[in-house]
């Protein structure tokens, strides 16, 4: 367990994470969620600068009842861009952050994954599974 106290985000994160752009339609986002076992995907611009984070919960929120329609209009919602549902200021972590702190943050916020940033640029993502794997490695 001592090893875990020394582990940093860089030791456990996935680098080169899957990303989407802010104009990706929700239909494409749905397809990515179907193909990959991710709960959330970072939203970046062409320079890999982090613009936001979009999760399955954000996608579900798009289908909540609103005053505009009795029945949520599925096709119109699926054509909306990711920018309409993403969190624009997600909680981020940095590569040098201790995993113990990430674990605390994850439990407190009930978040499933955090983008990892260097300045404005996205460099990775760290998820619950990564922390569990680091714990396993640290105690093997």
């Amino acid at each position: 367990m001592y090893q875990f106290l020394h582990d940093k985000v860089a030791d456990a994160m996935s680098d080169r994470p899957l990303t989407v752009s802010s104009d990706t339609p929700l239909a494409e986002l749905t397809r990515l969620f179907d193909q990959h076992d991710f709960n959330g995907i970072p939203v970046v611009d062409a320079q890999q600068r982090l613009l936001g984070f979009v999760t399955k919960l954000d996608l579900l929120k798009a289908f909540r009842f609103t005053p505009e329609a009795l029945i949520p209009p599925y096709a119109a919602i699926m054509a909306q861009p990711v920018s309409t549902v993403m969190t624009t200021e997600p909680v981020c972590v940095t590569e040098d952050m201790p995993l113990t702190r990430v674990l605390e943050l994850m439990v407190d916020l009930r978040t499933k994954s955090f983008p990892v940033v260097r300045g404005e640029r996205l460099v990775g993502i760290i998820a619950r599974e990564d922390l569990l794997a680091a714990l396993r490695r640290a105690t093997a």
């Binding site: 009842f65 005053p67 009795l70 029945i71 119109a76």
Partner: protein, 309 residues
């Protein structure tokens, strides 16, 4: 002795086809009818609904609107009047029968041939504004019936609306008619985005919004503390009900948590006011309710309360 209750219905209302999978579907009427055909309801008097007349409709809708709705009915297939509101070849007759049912029921209770009526009809009506079809509704059935009553010898009436969605159409039609009190409890925020307490009309509109996930306690408190006292104070000679059952906990289109006992309770309270001021005269018409089992059980509880049993 139980009260004399008439059920207005018509096969045309079941022929109004909204397309595959649409929640406002013919099976809704069949589910309620099956419940009301049980032995405990043997005294119900079933009557086919007449067509509403042009004169009846144009008391609340401009004539150009009535003509445009009927002209929008396709000779085959389906047409969308808005994203939610679908019509097909039988929809025109269904809409005319739905409004006609409420008018006939009003005449019956005023003549004293029955005590109260339940109009088992669709399309529903309370979202239909003076000149706008929306939210599954073409003509505002209850508003057409209320205007019909006011054209006869009723000077003061009330419309009670417990559908989970606010009756924007009814409010629109009667907002400057103080002789008609409109009281609505509904989930807010939710479609159609109206129904806030500051919308008071000529002092004759009372909106009782309920937060998502509200249940029996909040619903009954709103009616006990605000809705029923206002109704008593108005002293209506006739009560019309927009009876939507989609605030039920099992309904798929909203997030309130009522059960059939809540509908029985409110109906009983409304009957008490009607017996005090209106010789027990209540005309109720179906609006929403999209879980067939919950709908049938709730409508049965409502009619049982109308019967006074």
């Amino acid at each position: 002795m139980s009260r004399r209750i008439r059920i207005y219905h018509h096969p045309a209302c079941s022929a109004h086809d909204t397309g595959p999978g649409h929640p406002e579907r013919p099976a809704r009427l069949a589910a309620i009818a099956a419940a009301l055909r049980q032995p405990e309801f043997a005294t119900l008097d079933w009557q086919e609904a007449p067509l509403a007349s042009f004169v009846q409709l144009t008391r609340v809708h401009p004539s150009a609107y009535v003509e445009s709705v009927l002209a929008a009915i396709p000779s085959a297939g389906h047409s969308f009047l808005d994203g939610d509101t679908v019509v097909s070849p039988a929809s025109g007759e269904a809409a005319l029968r739905a409004a006609g049912a409420v008018c006939a029921a009003v005449e019956d209770v005023l003549a004293g041939t029955i005590d109260s009526a339940f109009c088992l009809v669709r399309p529903p009506g309370h979202h239909a504004e003076r000149a706008q079809a929306m939210g599954f509704c073409l003509f505002n059935n209850v508003a057409v019936g209320a205007a019909h009553a006011l054209s006869l010898d009723v000077e003061r009436l009330a419309i009670v609306d417990f559908d989970v969605h606010h009756g924007n159409g009814t409010q629109d039609i009667f907002r400057s008619r103080p002789e008609c009190l409109y009281i609505s409890s509904h989930q807010s925020p939710l479609y159609p985005g109206t129904g806030y307490p500051h919308e008071r009309g000529a002092g004759n509109i009372l909106n009782l919004p309920l937060k998502p996930r509200s249940g029996s306690q909040e619903f009954r408190a709103a009616w006990r503390e605000h809705g029923l006292p206002a109704l008593q104070a108005h002293g209506p000679q006739l009560i019309l009900i927009s009876a939507g059952f989609d605030a039920h906990a099992r309904d798929p289109l909203a997030s309130l948590y009522l059960d059939e006992e809540d509908y029985a309770w409110l109906t009983g309270e409304l009957l008490a006011v009607a017996e005090c001021h209106a010789q027990g005269r209540i005309v109720s018409a179906l609006e929403g309710g999209y879980d067939l089992d919950a709908l049938a059980a709730s409508a049965a509880a409502h009619v049982r309360a109308l019967l006074g049993i």
